[in-house]
């Protein structure tokens, strides 16, 4: 039987158990969309290709599956680049299918031609240009293997239009992966034994966990590890949710807007157990003042993350899960405990730091953004999936929505992409129709992909958008306030649209609160409405995110409040 390239593509996607993709059609992918018309795979039609890639990313984060995005050549492809870079920085498995002009036209500046494999080479884990229809099946299989294998990441497949149309005998389609199999894993036993020895000797141990614990599906192992060892833990922005925020062992987030006690603990610990982190500069700030007294035990799947910035005393280049499983087994078998008196002074010290500078804010007669987030936490009982945009909204969400559950926190950590949250929330809602999904947004960020309201309404996705509307690009304004003499250059955007009317124009529900006493009723009403809802909270315009580490300084050099 003869198959078209488009048919081979869908057969390949079905083999990978793909049931939902996010896409937008165009000339070079007409044959693919024509085949889609006959298939069971569901496409969520977005309104901008950036929405498609972020939605696929959000879908992947929540479901643990590979997100798939399908766009046309040229501008369709370039519109996904920000989202690809975003997934690359946060190690999210997505496969991006881009149309390309016919093979005979490639390189000739054809209509809607762009060298997308060239453009995305530095921000994909790998990419492919399919030159022969024989290679298509194999290429899709390899792309999925690469996207989800090892340290996950985005993979792009560029498919010329003639290949989607040309015919191949189904028996001639090659499915054999040509990826080299150098997966002979070095034994982790010796290193784990040394690690346990370091832990045994520590008087001031601290765990820092990151996105790698979530990507490695190891939150259960992490929880058991902390419980057995009775050691305090801080989680990076990407690691939030792996360990319950309500557990007294948790110190909150470290780094630039981390808690006082997490940063103090890092700066005074004698053993830092780093699990699935890559020590971003927003975590470490000034490197030679980071964990200056600590031996560093670093476990990460990517050898390139080890000794990149923070020098380790012992490292294990492995997925976190098998390491934690082995350590937990040994700890359990030996009834291993760190003697209480060995760490008592340390745990007491941490309690004092917690009491000295707890996470708090001052309530006034204006709505405080932190209050909106906390009320949302209370009303959803901490069980919602929270996506965020980037900036102050993101930091307040991280600080005041106390995440107890893994895979319920979706944020653009590495790239810091404004406009990420709403389409990512759409992807999350598609993956988890049973959950309440909320995008915590700023009035600046939400306008960067506001067109996706049409997508959410079109598919009856009851995503809730909580806009912390302060009339500013808030984080820019905060830096200008603190470091640029309050010269608010280009950060005042108070001439914003009427978000309630805007929501209504798209067929969504719009709600507004301007006074603190309206916050709870507005949130309640929004959450109870089974539709796409935009909630516009007019918050204190010049509220800041605190604590804040002075940029470039040691993480103990913190401004605690305004």
């Amino acid at each position: 039987m003869k198959l078209t390239g488009a048919q081979v593509l869908f057969n390949a996607l079905e083999q990978e158990k793909v049931d939902t993709i996010f896409g937008f059609p165009g000339g070079a992918v007409l044959d693919i969309f024509d085949e889609l018309y006959r298939r069971k795979i569901k496409n969520i039609l977005v309104r901008h290709e950036q929405g498609a890639i972020h939605a696929a990313d959000g879908y992947a984060r929540v479901s643990g599956k590979v997100g798939v995005c399908l766009v046309t050549s040229g501008p369709g492809a370039t519109n996904t680049v920000t989202g690809i870079a975003n997934a690359f920085m946060d190690s999210i498995p997505v496969v991006v299918l881009t149309g390309q002009v016919a093979t005979s036209l490639i390189g000739g500046d054809a209509f809607q031609e762009v060298d997308i494999t060239g453009i995305t080479r530095p921000c994909t884990k790998h990419n492919f240009l399919v030159r022969r229809i024989d290679d298509l099946g194999r290429t899709v299989r390899e792309a999925f293997d690469i996207a989800r294998g090892g340290r996950p990441g985005p993979v792009l497949i560029d498919i010329p239009k003639d290949i989607t149309r040309s015919l191949i005998e189904d028996t001639d389609v090659s499915w054999t992966s040509s990826l080299s199999n150098n997966n002979q894993k070095a034994s982790i036993e010796d290193a784990c034994a040394k690690a346990l020895d370091m832990i045994r000797k520590a008087e001031r141990p601290l765990i820092i966990s990151g996105g790698g614990v979530l990507l490695g599906r190891a939150p259960d192992e992490l929880r058991a590890f902390v419980k057995m060892l009775n050691v305090p833990i801080t989680s990076t922005l990407m690691g939030i949710g792996a360990f319950p925020a309500s557990d007294p062992h948790w110190l909150g987030m470290p780094g630039m807007h981390g808690t006082y006690y997490a940063n103090m603990a890092i700066s005074h610990c004698d053993l830092l157990i780093a699990l699935g982190v890559r020590f971003d500069d927003r975590v470490t700030s000034k490197l030679d003042a980071f964990a200056p007294h600590a031996k560093v035990l670093h476990i990460d799947i990517d050898p390139a993350s080890i000794d990149k910035f923070v020098k380790t005393n012992l490292s294990i280049a492995s997925d976190c899960k098998p390491v934690l499983q082995l350590l937990n087994k040994w700890i359990g078998d030996d009834s291993f405990v760190i003697p209480e008196k060995q760490t008592k002074a340390w745990l007491d010290q941490i309690d004092q730091w917690k009491k000295f500078a707890p996470m708090t804010y001052c309530q006034t007669d204006k709505i405080k953004p932190q209050y909106v987030v906390e009320t949302l936490y209370r009303l959803t009982e901490g069980k919602a999936i929270i996506a965020t945009e980037v900036g102050q909204n993101q930091m307040w969400a991280a600080q005041f929505y106390h995440f107890d559950y893994p895979y319920s926190w979706i944020t653009s950590g590495g790239l810091g992409t404004m406009g990420y949250g709403f389409p990512a929330a759409i992807g999350a809602q598609v993956a988890r129709p049973d959950k309440v999904v909320v995008d915590i947004a700023g009035d600046g960020s939400i306008q960067m992909n506001i067109q996706e309201l049409a997508t959410a309404v079109n598919y009856d996705l009851p995503v809730k958008i909580v806009i912390l509307n302060n009339g500013f690009l808030g984080m820019v304004r905060q830096w200008q306030e603190l470091f640029y003499g309050k010269r608010y250059s280009q950060s005042n955007i108070s001439n914003v649209p009427d978000f309630v009317k805007l929501a209504e124009a798209y067929g969504a529900v719009g709600l507004r609160a301007t006074r603190p006493e309206e916050v709870e009723t507005t949130l309640r009403k929004g959450l109870d409405t089974p539709k796409t809802v935009v909630m516009d909270f007019h918050v204190e315009p010049e509220e800041g995110v605190y604590p804040m580490v002075t940029p470039g300084a040691a993480i103990t050099d913190m401004v605690l409040s305004k």
Binding site: P122, K125, H126, I146, D302, A304
Partner: protein, 161 residues
């Protein structure tokens, strides 16, 4: 840490964009390429790329890790740290005059270089050797009427497997 020249051997799948991936990793991650040479190996589906780069040992380790992440890279080896023979080649065009003709011929003969092309008033010499030999040869030829030259990157091979 001491900055020195390092010779890195990279075995890669022979695919059209693999050189761009390697070069992009150098430029994008802040490493430099001093010289480069590439060609197929005994298995024509595999290409060996030899790159020389300046940096400390620490830098080279970071570079090796980043290169190893490229899907089409099969092996990365720092040849500076093993027993390897390194050679370069240079083609030199000399302007021939009555004054320098004999001297060039004598030098070529003594140093066992090769004349690969002889024309009425120019000739092209071929010199192979280690980096220092090539540097010295070029310095000498520069005093004898050198018109232009083209120099390859380093090729290198381990003495034992």
């Amino acid at each position: 840490m001491e900055v020195k020249e390092n010779t890195i051997s990279i075995l890669v799948n022979n695919r059209p964009d693999v050189l761009a991936r390697i070069a992009g990793t150098f430029s994008g991650r802040g490493f430099n390429i001093e010289s480069i040479s590439a060609n197929i190996t005994r298995n024509p589906e595999i290409t060996r790329i030899i790159i020389t780069t300046l940096g400390s040992r620490e830098t080279v380790i970071k570079l090796e890790k980043q290169l190893s992440k490229i899907i089409d890279v099969l092996e990365v080896k720092d040849l500076t740290r093993v027993n390897a023979t390194c050679r370069e080649m240079v083609l030199v065009r000399m302007k021939l005059t009555d004054a320098n003709h004999m001297k060039i011929m004598q030098t070529v003969d003594t140093l066992k270089w090769k004349i690969v092309r002889m024309d009425a008033d120019t000739c092209i010499l071929e010199v192979t050797g280690g980096k220092k030999e090539i540097d010295d040869a070029l310095a000498l030829l520069d005093t004898m009427g050198m018109d232009d030259f083209t120099r390859t990157g380093v090729v290198a091979l381990e003495r034992q497997k």
